[in-house]
Amino acid sequence: MFENLFVGIADGLRSLLGGLPLEINEAIVMLVKLVAILVFILVNALWLVYMERKVAGYMQARIGPNRVGPKGLLQTSADIGKLICKEIIIHKDTDKVVFMLAPVLVFVPTLMVFAVIPFGKNMAAIDMNIGLLYLLAIASLSTVIFWMAGWASNNKYSLLGSMRSVAQMVSYELPMVLAILGVIMITGSLKMSDIIAAQEHTWFIFTQPIAFLIFFIASVSECNRAPFDLIEAESELVNGFNTEYSGMAFAMFYLAEYANMLVCCAMVTILFLGGWLAPFGLDFIPSWLWFFIKMYVVMFVIMQLRWTYPRIRVDQLMGFGWKVLVPLSLANIFVTGIGMYIYRAIGW
């Protein structure tokens, strides 16, 4: 019943604006989609922060925020409200332009990535041919922004933190990219909708378990979550690259972190958990709801990881990335290739 809710809205809008020239019509529809996505990200980021604190509380024998608003739901809104009206300190040694540019830009790659994520059947804002590659390319830009933030702060902790984070993100991007390769070999397309369609019968988590593991670990690392949260490494580097940021500038990083998490979970869902496909033929639940359910299951696991594991040391982190994950993901390509030949020999 609700299956076509959002698609229907978009179509309705399009026909409503039928009188306008095509480009403008498309642009307006795109803008509406965009605003919807933006709202979606913000609401989700707020919710995720709240959920994180609740989950953390529950795992630590306490209850977490419950006073502000019903069940404490307005807690994160209050936090953001406060951060907006907090002073942004730009201290005298900073590289002022770069320092302020970083928080402005930090949301850009994240939001742009959302353009290709299908939230449900036919519900990607843009379903482009090289969707996956686009996603990877844009996502790789965020490293530069983190580095900008750390360098411009002109603070040793920030610089150390940002250099670490860049080295980390760079090292884990590789296994992530290589892990996806296994999926692409099977689907033969970089289009998100094709990838999901290819999982009609079996999710790739079953056909590509190694790739799934690698991708999952690498994406946890990419969004700097524990046990790979060296970027913030509170007990060592104070707050990592955002040590000098205050107020809204900090809030931007804070939100972007959660938005990044959202991307990672969405990616895991799309690539390995069948995206919006309903399992066991339970398709009375709309596709977009399935997508959320899967996404939030992954999210919960990531949160649980954070509240369970200690932080790993930087040299171990690098060693793990390069000496375990990269060879493993290369091996995965071989195995997938050979496996597919065998499968074809038997199957067809």
Binding site: A56, Q60, K156, L160, E236, Y309, P310, R311, V314
Partner: protein
């Protein structure tokens, strides 16, 4: 390897993992420590000096504030020194009360030590779960003494009060529950591979060095030196209890941490035995001492084993109501002595691990 330019990094005083206001001036080469200069004194409150203008009894609350995590043990050390000076005999029951409350204090201290250590390593949950048990310990201590942390429970010649009704049973019940909790920490922290990878072979302290640097407490025993004052020179009534002294093998951070973990299990044993034995004893909890204490001229030194190591109180009397001099051998301060060499060559992340594993208490370091 190219040697990069060395630079200084302030680690503290306001740093989440220096456990208070402690400052380490690190000289780093890349991320490796070349030199570490511990700078303390940010919490120097002049307790030793203040003690000279207080009467003997009035000093007791001040000793609390040295190692505020295990306040009873500090009280105990001090009153033992004064008792020795005055030749006071402590009633049996008071000794037991001291043991029970002292061991509970030690438990609270160890719980914080493992909690904050897991926080340093990055596992937040371990920290808060340890605090859950600490709250119970605090409740028990509060019921006994009236304060949660700064107990001021010991008195010269005994303890301030007898156990309230039903208190011993409560302690007993808590001791029954505790092993499960310790198992939980073991599962969550000690058994975790990441934690082990972080702490094994880091900050190795050789037994000889440890002895040479006069290091004591779990830090020493983590290196495998079997020296616990409770066993080696049983003070009070410790010779009546049957317990083990947990020892480490390699002397690395993990061993030190594990020593504390296993020591907690021994605390359970001691407390359980003490509760069993105290039930048969009746009598006062404080000896007859004059209201105004005037110890004879002379000096006395007594040392006991606290949760951090061997604390020694040296009290000099000039025959008046106030001590001429009080000096404290603070284990945390002495354990810090080897820090610089222990840190050299390790990464910044290891600094946190090593510093946390020594379990310093700044109130005691700076005194």
């Amino acid at each position: 390897m190219i040697r990069t330019q060395e630079y200084n990094l302030n680690f503290g005083p306001q740093h989440p993992s220096t456990h208070g206001v402690f400052r380490l001036l690190l000289t780093l080469d890349g991320e490796r420590v070349v030199k570490a200069e511990p700078i303390c004194g940010y919490l120097h409150r002049g307790i030793e000096k203040l003690a000279e203008s207080r009467t003997y009894t009035q000093i007791i609350p001040y000793t609390d504030r040295m190692d505020y995590l295990a306040a009873m043990l500090q009280n105990w050390g001090y009153v033992m020194a004064v008792e020795k000076l005055m030749g006071v005999e402590v009633p049996e029951k008071a000794e037991y009360m001291r043991v029970i409350s002292g061991e509970l204090s030690r438990l609270a201290s160890h719980l914080i030590a493992i909690g904050t250590y897991s926080l340093d390593i990055g596992a937040f949950t371990g920290f808060l779960l340890a605090f859950r048990e600490r709250e119970t310990t605090m409740d028990l201590l509060e019921e006994l003494t009236g304060s949660r942390m700064t107990l001021s429970f010991a008195r010269i010649g005994g303890v301030a009060a007898d156990a309230p009704e039903g208190w011993l049973d409560k302690v007993d019940k808590f001791m029954d529950k505790l092993p499960d909790c310790i198992d939980e920490y073991d599962g969550l922290i000690t058994g975790n591979e990441i934690f082990q990878a972080r702490t094994r072979d880091v900050g190795v302290l050789k037994p000889e060095t440890a002895i040479n640097y006069s290091i004591s407490g779990p830090t020493l025993r983590g290196s495998g030196v079997d020296y616990d004052l409770r066993k080696a020179k049983p003070y009070g009534i410790y010779d009546r209890f049957d317990f083990e002294v947990p020892l480490g093998k390699n002397g690395d951070c993990f061993d030190r941490f594990d020593c504390r973990m296993r020591e907690m299990r021994q605390i359970i044993r001691i407390v359980k035995q003490a509760i069993e034995q105290i039930k048969e004893i009746d009598g006062p909890v404080i000896a007859k001492v004059p209201k105004v204490l005037k110890p004879p001229k002379g000096d006395a030194y007594e040392e006991i084993e606290t949760s951090k190591g061997i604390i020694g109180y040296y009290v000099v009397s000039d025959g008046s109501t106030k001590p001429y001099r009080v000096h404290v051998r603070r284990p945390s301060f002495i354990n810090l002595g080897y820090l610089d060499e222990m840190l050299r060559g390790y990464l910044v992340a290891d600094v946190v691990a090593i510093l946390g594993s020594i379990d310093i208490m700044l109130g005691e370091v700076d005194c």
